[in-house]
């Protein structure tokens, strides 16, 4: 395990706060189409991410461990849609997707501990019910 993960996490945590992506109010404005902020953030992040991934593949860049970087392709399943919609419902209610839950807690918003408790119980319920769910 490389310590670089910690530093990239710190970098990302700072960005979640300074971009206000971790703000409940910004999420509501996004879903009400009242401001473009979130769409521009997500759009420019994906554009830079996609250009980076394309460049890494084109140049054949290796990881620090001298390995070929691998982005595992996730299969399209029923859960992608059903789970995706359920997550979207929760995202709008709590004003936080998983990264921002941690960012809210780190910033001192301790109410987000309740959101995290819910998320952990939700993941646990999924683990319990997985074999009974359509995939």
């Amino acid at each position: 395990m490389r310590i670089s993960s910690l530093f990239i996490g710190i970098f990302f945590g700072i960005l979640l706060i300074k971009s206000e992506v971790a703000s409940w109010f910004r999420i509501e404005q996004m879903f009400l189409f009242q401001e473009a902020h979130m769409y521009l953030i997500i759009g420019s992040a994906v554009a830079v991410g996609a250009a980076s991934v394309a460049l890494i593949k084109w140049l054949g860049l290796q990881t620090v461990d001298g390995e070929q970087p691998v982005l595992k392709v996730k299969p399209l399943q029923k859960g992608t849609i059903i789970g995706g919609v359920l997550f979207g419902l929760g995202w709008a209610i709590t004003g936080a997707c998983p990264g921002p839950i941690y960012a809210q807690i780190g910033s001192g918003q301790m109410l987000a501990l309740v959101t995290l408790a819910g998320a952990l119980v939700g993941a646990y319920l999924y683990a319990l019910l997985k074999s009974h769910l359509p995939h």
């Binding site: 490389r2 670089s4 993960s5 996490g9 710190i10 990302f12 945590g13 960005l15 979640l16 706060i17 300074k18 206000e20 109010f25 009400l32 521009l40 420019s44 992040a45 554009a47 830079v48 991410g49 996609a50 980076s52 991934v53 890494i56 290796q62 990881t63 595992k72 392709v73 859960g79 992608t80 849609i81 789970g83 995706g84 359920l86 979207g88 929760g90 995202w91 709008a92 209610i93 709590t94 936080a96 997707c97 998983p98 941690y102 809210q104 807690i105 780190g106 910033s107 918003q109 109410l111 987000a112 309740v114 995290l116 408790a117 952990l120 119980v121 939700g122 993941a123 683990a127 319990l128």
Partner: protein, 161 residues
């Protein structure tokens, strides 16, 4: 440098968020994603972790970088709120600090945890990473996230819930 202490504009923050994908890929050899951390915490602490396949078959030790990354987010958010912000950071409505608000947060969190595990990813793993990798499943996932968010916001906003 005054702008630095205020919320950053999208054209600064968005591209920097996008750089998280190649940074993790090249410097850690890992794929950016956060919701799998919920699974790891369950695998480490929750009852029945040795009998429930989804938790037992999860090699969280191999994925412990993900928990280190989450610790980084906590530290980064603390630093941003404490040292890089001119004004106090308000991220949740005051109404959440009531019993009803806390029930909302818990049930909403439940949907976030259940939904992201069922969909095998969240805004980071699917929307940022998956779309960056031009994955069909991530486009469907992202559209599903927005359908859920729009429905939820429409109900609460227009019904006054």
């Amino acid at each position: 440098m005054d702008w630095f202490l205020h919320p950053w504009p999208w054209y600064v923050a968005g591209p920097l968020i996008g750089l998280t994908v190649p940074a993790l890929l090249l410097l850690s050899g890992k794929t950016f994603g956060i919701s799998s951390s919920f699974r790891h915490v369950c695998s480490i602490t929750f009852p029945g972790r040795s009998s429930i396949a989804y938790l037992r078959d999860n090699d969280w030790r191999k994925e412990s970088w993900n928990l280190l990354f989450v610790v980084g987010i906590l530290i980064g958010a603390f630093v941003a709120a404490r040292f890089l912000s001119a004004e106090a950071i308000v991220l949740l409505p005051a109404s959440m600090a009531t019993p009803t608000g806390m029930i909302k947060l818990f049930l909403g969190g439940l949907l976030v945890g259940f939904g992201t595990r069922y969909a095998d990813g969240c805004t980071s793993g699917h929307t940022i990473t998956g779309l960056s990798n031009l994955q069909w499943s991530s486009l469907v996932a992202t559209l599903s996230f927005f359908v859920g968010g729009l429905v939820s916001t429409a109900i609460t906003h227009y019904q006054g819930l």
